[in-house]
């Protein structure tokens, strides 16, 4: 039990508790803001796994981009005059059974391999340079495809979200 373990359990607790709030809170704003803590907790776990570039990317894109987009969505799709930003749930009992089955089977698989976990790879320094080189050599085709997808998504989202003007 050293500092690594303590920090892991702290971040794991933050992540799981705020994910519970995201899923079970009846208020949309509470869910959106606790999603922020979930993303930050996952970013902390990335740092523990020595993925520093990924952790910064997680903060920048998820917290700075996706979460702000979702808050905009919440604001734009609720009527301003009404304070009713509560939300209901559908068929919770089958969903609980489904979730329990999935979690149980996943945990069983992981528990079966518990003793076979390998030791971690040797500690590396900063991963940014190596990731950049990989993106330009081994992964250059997925990289280009991703850039085209981002462009298409950008144009498509801007086109769809624009208000249609009456002729």
């Amino acid at each position: 039990m050293d500092t690594f373990d303590i920090v892991f359990y702290a971040f794991a607790a933050i992540t799981v508790l705020s994910a519970f709030v995201v899923v079970f809170s009846r208020n949309i704003m509470y869910a959106a803001f606790s999603l922020l803590f979930t993303f930050c907790g996952v970013a902390g776990l990335y740092v523990l796994l020595q993925a520093d570039f990924l952790a910064v990317t997680q903060i920048l894109i998820y917290v700075g981009g996706i979460l702000v987009l979702m808050l905009f969505g919440v604001m734009l799709t609720n009527k301003v005059v009404s304070v009713d930003i509560k939300t209901g749930t559908l068929h919770t009992i089958p969903a609980m059974i489904l979730a329990a089955i999935v979690l149980g089977s996943l945990a069983a698989v992981f528990y079966a391999t518990w003793s076979k976990t390998p030791d971690p790879a040797t500690a590396t320094t900063s991963t940014t340079k190596a990731i950049g080189e990989l993106l330009m050599t081994n992964f250059v085709l997925p990289f280009e495809v991703a850039s085209v997808i981002l462009l298409a998504a950008l144009v498509g989202a801007a086109f769809m979200a624009r208000r249609t003007r009456k002729p």
């Binding site: 359990y9 969505g73 996943l106 790879a121 981002l150």
Partner: protein, 113 residues
């Protein structure tokens, strides 16, 4: 720190399985959110939880399972696609709201009739 490590000494040392089980919990919570929520934006939030769980798995295997940096690059592509998906999905949700004045996924069922 010394006191903390004595208090929590009963917890097992962290290894690969801890990250995997944590990501399984996140995945399950996201799945539950996707299935049960009525509000489409909250369904999207559940989807983000599922994607984060998958990413956590990829990076845990990058550290422990010998995937090395390939796992991290795969995680970067997942993040890219998540950003594109969120933008498109919110544009669709805004259109649904303009058309139906609601974004509850069970009330948008005009194709059924």
């Amino acid at each position: 720190m010394q006191i903390l490590s004595e208090v929590f000494a009963w917890l097992p040392d962290v290894q690969l399985a801890h990250f995997l089980i944590l990501s399984a919990i996140l995945f399950t919570l996201g799945l539950y959110g996707i299935v049960t929520r009525r509000n489409a934006i909250l369904v999207l939030m559940g989807l983000e939880l599922v994607l984060n769980a998958a990413n956590l798995n990829l990076i845990a295997f990058a550290r422990y399972g010998g995937l090395n940096l390939d796992g991290q690059v795969a995680a970067i592509f997942v993040i890219i696609l998540a950003a594109a998906e969120a933008a498109i999905a919110l544009a669709i949700i805004l259109n649904i709201f303009q058309r139906f004045q609601t974004i509850n996924v069970d009330e948008v069922s005009s194709l059924k009739e």
